[in-house]
């Protein structure tokens, strides 16, 4: 009913092409995040969806309706801005009331002094709606305050409230948490997830923080250079990225990437060790990606290295190893209790199940692992 669909959206600012034929289909009720490095066009895409920016080409469809030429106020979308964009001169209640007044009152009923007089009943009904939403968001006791008197998290909730009162087709959010401090961010993360679960309205959520994207969303779109590189479930994207760029962007610390070779037989050699045969791959140079948690310290590991740097995060230690006989550095996750000291010689294994193979163009080569030679 209120699915959203963007078709070949193109947008340039001057010479710079910011969006380059973006397609995106969002099913009704989903929580979709747009992630990507700064400047990749996330905000621009969201603003095009909202109608705040005109497209150069492409169409925006909401429900069955083509809204490409419709002005923002008629699209029935609600937006939560990074800066919250609350009206500083209005109280919280008035802030939340504004979209309702704009929608439901006539021009005369909105006139400064006489307006409130001639539309008492209507306003009362609307105020009741505001109260209901305020209750949901637990900001009832803030209703008379001005935004300036609120903390970051409270403002966040008011901004949400202002969006919620309207029962919009979808919520658009542009980095709504990035102004909050770390602890509050984690807290608001779960509140938003909870809210989405309750409202079941579509959320389109822009962030450059992958933790947010990974933990909150049903679907995640990774954008880079004005294109959507991959769109899918967050864990699928983490596990099964389509390209090196996506693999590198998602995950912290970043995935280890190793230049490797595939010979005529399809045998992959990583750091001098054969990792077995892969069907369907011809002889070529490839890049192999493997995440730190998939490298395991083991006395009998096939690979050896020297600990060059240790990052102890308490729960995990990330060891930066210089691989014996190679210039490559790999990051290995270890448990603090058993983590070797700086400059220690260690050995580690690499599970070929978790190897991600990328071609020279950075595209994922999806290959069947044929020899079931398990890593030692």
């Amino acid at each position: 009913m209120s699915s959203i669909s963007l078709r070949t959206i193109t947008k340039s600012f001057g010479d710079a092409m910011v969006l380059d034929g973006v397609d995106l289909d969002i099913k009704d009720g989903k929580f979709v995040t747009l992630v990507g490095p700064s400047g990749c066009g996330k905000s621009t895409l969201l603003r095009i969806l909202a109608g705040l920016e005109a497209t150069d080409a492409g169409t925006v469809t909401i429900g069955k309706r083509d809204v490409t030429q419709t002005r923002p106020s008629l699209r029935n979308l609600a937006m939560v801005f990074q800066s919250y964009a609350l009206y500083p001169h209005l109280s919280v209640a008035q802030n939340m009331l504004t979209p309702l007044l704009m929608r439901d009152l006539t021009k005369t009923q909105r006139l400064p002094v006489i307006g409130p007089l001639i539309s008492r009943a209507k306003r009362k009904a609307l105020t009741a709606q505001v109260d209901a939403v305020a209750q949901t968001l637990k900001i009832t006791e803030l209703l008379t305050r001005k935004p300036g008197q609120l903390s970051g998290g409270q403002r966040q909730r008011v901004a949400l409230g202002r969006a919620m009162v309207r029962n919009p087709v979808a919520f658009l959010m542009d980095e709504p948490l990035s102004n909050l401090d770390a602890a509050l961010r984690v807290h608001m993360r779960s509140e938003l997830t909870e809210l989405h679960r309750r409202l079941k309205t579509t959320f389109v959520y822009v962030t450059h923080d992958q933790a947010e994207a990974l933990t909150m969303s049903d679907r995640m779109a990774v954008m880079m250079g004005g294109k959507i590189l991959q769109f899918g479930r967050p864990d699928d994207i983490y596990r099964d990225p389509n390209s090196l760029a996506v693999a590198r962007f998602v995950g912290s610390p970043a995935i280890n990437t190793l230049s490797s070779e595939i010979d005529e037989q399809g045998t992959l050699t990583v750091l001098g060790e054969s990792m077995g045969r892969f069907s369907g791959l011809s002889q070529q140079s490839v890049v192999v990606g493997i995440r730190p948690e998939h490298l395991t310290l083991s006395k009998t590991g096939r690979f050896g290295g020297m600990v060059k740097h240790r990052e102890n995060l308490g729960s995990d230690v990330f060891l930066h190893l210089v691989v014996d006989g190679h210039a490559d550095v790999v990051v290995v996750r270890a448990t603090p209790a058993h983590a070797p000291a700086l400059a220690a010689q260690v050995r580690f294994t690499m599970s070929s199940d978790h190897l991600l193979i990328f071609g020279a163009d950075g595209q994922r080569l999806r290959a069947e692992h044929t020899t079931s030679k398990v890593a030692v």
């Binding site: 909202a50 106020s73 800066s83 964009a85 979209p99 400064p112």
Partner: protein, 306 residues
């Protein structure tokens, strides 16, 4: 930490000058306003409230208040309104904004005394460009307007020396001169409004420019407006150059343009009557102070956000 006494050197000179140049004169003026001191005399007599009594009873001073308030209450709303209007229009332009900005600011930059002389030419009853232009309209449909017909029949008004026109003409020049200043302040204020707020308003369903103005622009310009209004009040209370240029003697036809600054000048400087001049000064200060206090109060009360 650094040098613990550094602040003394920083604020010392300013404080001393503030006292000598701004505060001390107020005390002196206050004291003098109770005397009949005349510059050049070695002494003066204490006359109590006589000077103030004159100010509030003599018809001349009634005219002074009349002229001052007429000027102020015409010029302030007009300069503020036009300043805001111009700023909004210019701000919404996609091109050439700079040009208008510069043009509208020209009068602010120009010595009012010089421009007053020019206006005097422009308003000159016979060779002035204004009446000359009006005369060209004679014989056209404009004559249907009785005022115009009268002008054609004899002469168009003596804008500057007719008792019924003088204060309005001088006010017009005040508006002409002052609105560009307010425009610039408003432009500065407008650039301070976050674009996000307009987008939020759009998302909230505002469709007309008027709604946007009511919901975002005007409230957000609150602090600017308070500042602009106060500055405009003070500036128009201080009008002097035009009056002195047009009416070096007497303050306009039937004293209809006898504004306070000119009265102070006439009494104290032209006639050396410091006592009464000081008394007018005190009344003047009183007005300005009250206005500014109202402004402070408004700022404190209304615009406590951001």
């Amino acid at each position: 930490m650094g040098n613990q006494r550094a602040y003394l050197w920083c604020i010392g000179p300013a404080l001393i000058l503030m006292f000598l140049i701004l505060l001390l004169p107020i005390f002196i003026a206050a004291g003098m306003s109770f005397t009949n001191y005349s510059l050049g005399n070695t002494s003066a007599d204490f006359v109590g409230l006589e000077n103030y009594e004159q100010i509030f009873t003599r018809s001349t001073y009634a005219k002074m208040f009349g002229a001052t308030f007429r000027y102020v209450f015409l010029v302030v709303p007009m300069t503020v309104g036009l300043g805001l209007g111009a700023a909004l229009l210019i701000n919404s332009l996609t091109r050439f904004g700079e040009v208008y900005k510069t043009i509208y600011f020209l009068p602010v930059m120009s010595a009012l005394i010089a421009m007053a002389i020019v206006w005097e030419f422009a308003f000159h009853p016979t060779i002035g460009i204004i009446n000359a232009t009006l005369e060209r309209g004679c014989g056209t449909f404009l004559e249907g307007w009785t005022w115009y017909a009268k002008g054609c029949a004899r002469t168009f008004p003596l804008w500057l020396t007719d008792r019924d026109y003088a204060i309005w003409t001088v006010s017009f020049i005040g508006i002409w001169q002052g609105f560009g200043f307010n425009m610039v302040l408003y432009l500065a204020g407008l650039t301070g409004i976050p674009r996000d707020l307009y987008h939020a308003a759009e998302m909230d369903g505002t469709q007309s420019a008027w709604d946007r103005f009511c919901l975002v622009t005007w409230p957000m310009l609150g602090p600017t407006t308070v500042f602009v209004v106060t500055i405009s009040f003070i500036r128009s209370f201080q009008v002097f150059d035009t009056v002195e240029a047009f009416y070096p003697q007497g303050g306009g036809p039937s004293k209809s343009v006898y504004v306070m600054m000119f009265a102070i000048y006439e009494k104290a400087i032209q006639q050396n009557l410091m006592g009464i001049g000081a008394a007018i000064t005190m009344v003047f200060l009183g007005f300005v102070m009250i206005l500014t206090l109202i402004q402070r109060w408004l700022v404190e009360r209304r615009t406590h956000y951001a």
